[in-house]
Each structure stands twice: as structure tokens, then as C-alpha cells.
């Protein structure tokens, strides 16, 4: 385990440093707030000769991801970074990257989608590409962003997986917030990730291949089934890599992290930086004797449904916190999936959904305490008045 000096890094700096230590073969990127710094810092590492990366400047995010797919198909270890409109401009090629099984790593900074234009944090962008075949890992803080980037390489490149991975942080809250983190030595990172051995290479003239061929009714379905299997395989690999990372460096990772969850009667389920704020609310309420806890989901794709059901089954009432709205009128994306995961339990906790923090609207300890109080009322036999609620919007 490393016991080095802590360093002060923003989320963006932490992700850029991880990229430097990973030293990918190719980075193709286009800048966008609040992710710009990641690739900007990385480009300075390239200019300073700290990495061997071929840095490709492109004219859009669509081109960035296209160049990434090309380079990855050629056998390179490839990374990029983006956010918001950039991510959804990439959307077409995100599906292709997963479909042709390119283990590209994307540093994604969660930001609201237009319109109205907004540069601040919510999870709309990442959620909008949740079915693209990318593994999606959320980070609570700079440290997790750094650790997740390094693990993402091992997860995506695993021969049983070979899927692209996006590691996300919350825009501005984490991307531009300075915190102390513990970094690994360059060599530790290199030893952990190992060299990349592509299954195939476009440039291998001795073993020529075609990438991105046409599938009709006769093959398309089978290929989609393969990708689903890769996601399934990813679950095992994510846990193995998270465990090994913990053994080597002292910080273990799983699909999710419970906080005071085991003996809790009520709990919140959420993604990203809000979990940190919720811990403070849990501690305060625990002091007052409230049996509350929280579950912070780290891996949204693949979705650990069975494991979540197991971890949440003892609760009396749960509030799922969505920092994006599906606009389905039936709840946010996290809520619908968590509720579905719990459907087969013999006795199900009561569940409510809060859409919160859209466009960077602040969420406070007091807001979260209020939700726990509502859960107390529900767990005490009170009626659920509204399953879906908008927290902090001006009514």
C-alpha cells in the first residue's frame, strides 16, 4: 500500500494525471466545459514529452469518437474526455465503439443538456447514452475519479469484456473542486494496467480484418447478444479489478458502497457527489437515533440488479435520488431500474423517487434530512402521497 504525500487535485486534474500515468497510445478530443481541462492538461503532458501519446485534435466530438474508434480498431490503447452536448454529439459513434468492441476509456464530466443552455452538473448526458453498450462508472470525488480511471483500463480491456468504459465525475462540484488525493507512482499504475494486447488490429497485414461490416436480419441479433454477454462478464471483472486495486493500494471498489446501511430501516440510493453530502445527513440523524443509511451506486452499466436487491431488501423505505429526469412521468432512470431490481423480493420496501439538482441546483444536508424524515413517516405506516417528487424546484 502506498503511503505517500497527499496532493491537491481537482477532479479534472485527477483524471488528467491518471491519463498521464496510463500513457495511452492515442487521445483524440474536442474541448467542452467543464471537461476541457482534462484534455487541455493532457495536451500539455504531450507537449512536455511526459507521455508517448499521439494527440489528435479534431473538429467535433463526433470526430473525436470516430478517431478513437479508428485508433482502437488499429490496436491502440485509446482515451478521450467530454461532457454534455459533446457526449451526445458522440452518441452515434459511442454505439459503434461498443458494437465493434473497442475498449476506449472516456473521462466524462456530468453536465446538464440543452435547452436551456446550462453548464452545471446533472446526470442527463451520461444517462442519455446509458444503453449504448458502454460501461458506466460514477465517482463521488476526485480520489474516486482517479482510481476509477485506472481500473477502467483493466475492466474494458479484459478479454471477456472488451467494451468501452466511461468514468464520470460531477461537473464543477468535483471537476473544478480542489481536494486532497493520494496518487500512485507511475510505475504502480503501469504495473497494474499492464500492456495492452488488442485482440485484432486493422494494421496487422499478416492477419487482415474488416471492422464495422453490415449485419442483416441473419446476424445483427447475435452480435447484440454478444455485447450483452460482454456486459454480463464485465460484472465479474469489475469486482475482481476493484478487489485487486484494494489489495494493492488500500482502496477497494465494488458495484456500490453502503454507508451505515446494514442496520438501517430507511435509506437513500444515489450516484456521484451527493453521496458525500448525504453521509453528513446520515451522521446527524444517527446521532438523533434515526436508523438511516445510504447506498451509493458506483456502476450503473452493467446494472447490478441482483446485488442491489440483496443489499436493500431489509429496508422499510427507500428514496431513490435521480439527478436527471427521463421525462417519462414515471420516474428518473435510476429509480425505475432500482425499483425493477427489487420487484422479485418476497417483501419489497416502500419506494419513492426524487428528481433533484438539475442544472446544478444545490442540494444541501437539510434537503436530504427532509427526505429521511419523509421516509421515517412512510416506514412508520404513512401513505406515500406522491411517488415522484421534484426536490428544490420553485413550486
Amino acid at each position: 500500500m502506498s503511503t505517500k504525500e497527499l496532493v491537491a487535485r481537482t477532479g479534472n486534474e485527477a483524471m488528467a494525471e491518471a491519463m498521464r500515468q496510463i500513457n495511452p497510445d492515442v487521445v483524440a478530443a474536442y474541448p467542452i466545459t467543464p471537461a476541457t481541462e482534462i484534455v487541455q492538461l493532457f495536451s500539455s503532458f504531450v507537449a512536455d514529452g511526459l507521455v508517448d501519446t499521439e494527440f489528435v485534435t479534431v473538429e467535433s466530438e463526433h470526430s473525436a469518437m470516430s478517431a478513437c474508434v479508428g485508433a482502437s480498431a488499429a490496436g491502440a490503447r485509446v482515451m478521450t474526455g467530454t461532457s454534455s452536448q459533446g457526449l451526445i454529439l458522440m452518441a452515434e459513434i459511442l454505439y459503434i465503439a461498443a458494437g465493434v468492441r473497442c475498449p476506449i476509456i472516456l473521462a466524462e464530466v456530468n453536465r446538464a443538456l440543452s435547452s436551456p443552455i446550462n453548464i452545471h452538473c446533472d446526470h442527463s448526458d451520461t444517462m442519455s447514452v446509458r444503453d449504448s453498450g458502454w460501461i458506466q462508472i460514477f465517482s463521488e470525488n476526485s480520489q474516486e475519479a482517479y482510481d476509477n480511471m485506472i481500473q477502467a483500463v483493466r475492466i474494458g480491456e479484459h478479454m471477456d469484456v472488451r467494451l468501452p468504459v466511461m468514468v464520470t465525475t460531477d461537473g464543477f462540484i468535483i471537476s473544478h473542486g480542489l481536494e486532497a488525493i493520494s496518487m500512485l507512482e507511475d510505475k504502480e499504475v503501469q504495473d497494474f494496467i499492464g500492456p495492452y494486447k488488442a485482440a485484432y488490429s486493422l494494421l496487422d497485414v499478416g492477419k487482415p480484418i474488416t471492422v464495422g461490416a453490415l449485419d442483416f436480419t441473419d446476424f445483427y441479433f447475435e452480435h447484440r447478444r454478444q455485447t450483452a454477454q460482454a456486459m454480463e462478464n464485465g460484472k465479474k471483472v469489475i469486482l475482481e479489478v476493484g478487489r485487486e486495486f484494494g489489495e494493492k493500494f488500500g482502496r477497494s471498489y465494488g458495484f456500490f458502497e453502503g454507508y451505515k446501511l446494514e442496520d438501517a430501516e430507511i435509506a437513500l440510493v444515489m450516484l456521484g457527489s451527493t453521496a458525500g453530502t448525504a453521509r453528513v445527513a446520515v451522521d446527524k440523524l444517527r446521532e438523533a437515533g434515526v436508523k438511516c443509511g445510504l447506498l451509493k451506486l458506483r456502476v450503473f452499466r452493467p446494472f447490478p440488479a441482483v446485488e442491489l436487491a440483496e443489499a436493500l431488501k431489509h429496508l422499510k423505505a427507500i428514496a431513490v435520488m435521480d439527478r436527471s429526469d427521463s421525462l417519462s412521468t414515471a420516474g428518473g432512470p435510476l429509480f425505475t431500474e432500482v425499483r425493477s431490481a427489487l420487484y422479485d423480493l418476497p417483501s419489497r420496501p416502500a419506494m419513492v423517487n426524487y428528481i433533484y439538482g438539475l442544472g446544478g441546483r444545490d442540494i444541501t444536508v437539510a434537503d436530504l434530512e427532509g427526505i429521511y424524515q419523509e421516509l421515517q413517516r412512510i416506514s412508520g405506516g404513512g401513505q406515500i402521497q406522491k411517488t415522484l417528487q421534484y426536490l428544490g424546484v420553485r413550486e
Binding site: E5, A8, P34, H120, N141, I173, E179
Partner: protein, 192 residues
């Protein structure tokens, strides 16, 4: 979570309030204290009022909400007084440090302020004389550390130099100027 200290910096775009908050974060990172530093973001405009924040604690900080009740407020530009409510959320025993050639008493009268502890420092003059430009953030850091005793003086100087060296390695005169500015502000800040 143990005792949490929250600081709010007021400045105008371009004056370095964000850099001041980040520099304080960097200076604290190896003192055994836990810290956060972050700005408020909007459209970035030179001259527009902006805020930046620090959180400091002896225990890990997991809070990721905004700062609404800071114990310490640092004002980089006295022309903000009266235009921006710099004392918003500041408790009765809170600390207000203002960059101005005026005396604390005059500022108190100007703001019609009761309670709170007021300190002033002429950071513009100091930065003009040491750095050659009115960039008041480093002197305000010196004043802030003097008033709050957040970190040992020697540590402040050593770590501030270390951090500035990373940013201005090709401009040693900027590093020396900033360090002098911190030293002078540390000496010259005064309360009522």
C-alpha cells in the same frame, strides 16, 4: 465530522479569488488538515463579482453542497462593499477581512455592521509594490492565515513557494514578489 471551518472569498473576475482559495487548499494539503477549494461558476467575465470557497476540517470532508454560512469572509475588492452582501450568512462571531487602505472602524461604519470581527489590509498597495500589479489574492492569503492561525507561518511560506514555483517556474520574480506580498500582509493586517 469534526469542527468544519468554511471560508468565502469575494472578488471580481480577474482578481484571483479562485486562485487564492486554491492556493490556500494547496498550502493546507500536507498539514494533516482536510480541505476543499472551489469557486462559484457562471459566465466568466472580467470585473463581475464572483465568489470562491474553502472548507477545512481535521476530519475528511465529504460535503459537496454550496457554502452558505462561512465563518470567515475575505473581500478582495472594497468596491464590492455595498454592492454585494459580503456578510450574508456570516455569524455574529464571524470574521471579515477586507482589502482596503481604510481602518476597520471606517469599514464597520460604512457597512453599518454590528458584531463580527473586522480586519483590514491594503493588499492592492502591497501587491503593487511587491508584484508590480494590483493582484490582491496572495497578500489576502497572508492576512487570512495571520487572522485565523490556520497554518504555521513557516509552513505557509514554504508551501506557497512550492505551489507558486509549479505555476511560475520560468518567472522567478513573480514567485519572489508573491512571497514578499504574503509576508508583508501577514505583518500588516490589523483589526479593531
Amino acid at each position: 465530522m469534526g469542527k468544519l471551518l468554511e471560508i468565502r472569498w469575494h472578488g471580481r473576475g480577474g482578481q484571483g479569488a479562485k486562485t487564492g482559495a486554491l492556493l490556500l487548499g494547496e498550502v493546507l494539503v500536507n498539514t494533516g488538515k482536510f480541505m476543499q477549494a472551489f469557486p462559484d461558476y457562471g459566465p466568466e467575465r472580467m470585473g463581475a463579482p464572483m465568489r470562491a470557497y474553502n472548507r477545512i476540517s481535521d476530519e475528511p470532508i465529504t460535503l459537496h453542497s454550496g457554502v452558505t454560512n462561512p465563518e470567515v469572509v475575505v473581500v478582495l475588492d472594497a468596491t464590492l462593499l455595498g454592492k454585494v452582501d459580503v456578510t450574508a450568512g456570516l455569524p455574529e462571531d464571524g470574521v471579515l477581512i477586507v482589502n482596503t487602505p481604510q481602518e476597520p472602524g471606517e469599514i464597520r461604519k460604512q457597512l453599518g455592521l454590528s458584531g463580527r470581527k473586522l480586519f483590514t489590509i491594503d493588499a492592492n498597495k502591497i501587491s503593487q509594490e511587491t508584484i508590480g500589479r494590483a493582484i490582491p489574492n496572495t497578500p489576502m492569503l497572508g492576512a487570512l492565515v495571520k487572522v485565523t492561525g490556520l497554518v504555521e507561518y513557516e509552513h505557509l511560506i514554504t508551501d506557497a513557494r512550492k505551489t507558486l514555483t509549479k505555476k511560475f517556474q520560468h518567472k522567478p520574480e513573480v514567485i519572489d514578489g508573491n512571497i514578499k506580498a504574503i509576508e508583508r500582509a501577514y505583518q500588516e493586517v490589523h483589526g479593531e
